[in-house]
Symmetry: C2
DNA sequence: GTATAGATTGAATGGCTGTTCAGTCAATCT
DNA sequence: AGATTGACTGAACAGCCATTCAATCTATAC
């Protein structure tokens, strides 16, 4: 039983292609989350978008290309969320560090559908170099930004001796691991609790600058 | 190009079935790690084991059953590794906590092939209840054991006020997240460094009882 | 040595899936 | 209004894959 959405109409023909591509990517995300990567077919994607069977190959070179652009989209969205959080945060490194950490638990990013799709792509990453590169880039960009703020906090906050790279990598890993709980134990999972766990760790590492509630100190 | 292993012969006919099943499960793990979950076929599995095409359906009810038993096997192996580490460790809760943490970075468990297969199953978990349950059980059993030792360390070590459940869950999440680095950035990944990251976090939480090198203090 | 039972083979089968494309339809242009 | 261009459809196609099963092979029992 396919979910057929009411067919929305793009404004002009010029905007149609991008509109349809986005529609198909959204439907792909829905399908991967519902049926899994291995059982997502182009027919599912087309049905989910309320369009005809041949539609995907009309807008995308191939199924593989649709999947790559879907992952690309997901990665872009993830990056935008924490970059916007950074932009909104205070200018100090402590506030920036807190903003980045908190961003990982915003509903836009930390929800079961999106997390399922991330894990689906991670699950295929080893055998598909394109996915691996996109995933590695996502991690690297985030880790670099986190590393920068960690270095600053360590230098300015008097935490000499702490390994900034290790902490940045560890905090990123902690997030990805907490996401897994959302996927595997959805009933027991609580976004606020996961966020609190991340900040418990962060506040333990930087006790004079971060509270367990995720506020800046001092 | 299929890798055809030298065909080993089981001792007796009575032992044949279990021997073949194990052989096919091993081949399944190889195939998922190499080709990914979505492109693993029964022909691949049979070729990898050096046996004929119909062999899987002779020893397993279905492909799905083979996959379930593969995940089961993986989960059993994982549990055995940390339980053996626990058995070998000292009796004190600090030593037990350290042993469990270190076990996650033993080569038997923390290698790219096995990690790729874990992520492959996690990637399919949302849409396949059987996988989800097996994954959830794995997490729960580990988390319970970790929770027990955390509680003891907190009580005996004078860390009143720390949330044991949060720490246990966080440390498990940290491991899973660090594994992702091995999958996505194999060149940059270093098992010892990952281990050190886990112990950096643990030693920060229990500074009077765990060193950053993963030794018990006092 | 012969019979029996279980293990294994590999060809056949039927269903599913990605891709193609000739034809239809609607928006835009002249 | 008529022509043109691009979007979209859905049937057709070719290839792949899980599953079945009759035939073959091999170890054990008698």
């Amino acid at each position: 039983m396919a979910i057929v959405r009411p067919r929305e109409v793009p404004k002009s023909r010029a905007a149609t292609r991008e509109f349809r591509k986005q529609q198909l990517i959204d439907s792909t995300i829905d399908s991967i989350a519902k049926r899994g990567f291995s059982e997502t077919t182009l027919a599912d994607v087309a049905d989910g978008a309320g369009l005809s069977r041949g539609i995907v190959n009309f807008h995308f070179q191939s199924k593989e290309q649709l999947l790559v652009e879907t992952l690309q989209m997901l990665a872009d969205e993830y990056r935008e969320v924490w970059q916007k959080a950074l932009a909104k945060s205070g200018a100090g490194p402590v506030q920036r560090m807190i903003a980045m950490t908190a961003a990982d638990f915003e509903p836009a990013v930390c929800n079961r559908k999106k997390i399922a799709v991330w894990y689906a792509f991670w699950g295929e990453a080893k055998s598909r170099p394109t996915y691996m590169k996109l995933c590695a880039d996502r991690d690297n960009v985030y880790a670099d930004a986190m590393l920068t703020v960690c270095r600053q906090v360590i230098a300015e906050g008097g935490y000499e001796g702490l390994d900034a790279a290790m902490i940045a990598q560890g905090m990123a890993a902690l997030t990805d691991g907490l996401w897994l709980d959302c996927l595997v134990d959805p009933k027991g999972f609580d976004r606020e609790r996961a966020r609190a766990t991340a900040f418990l760790f962060l506040s333990t590492i930087f006790p004079r600058h971060v509270t367990p509630e995720g506020k800046a100190k001092g």
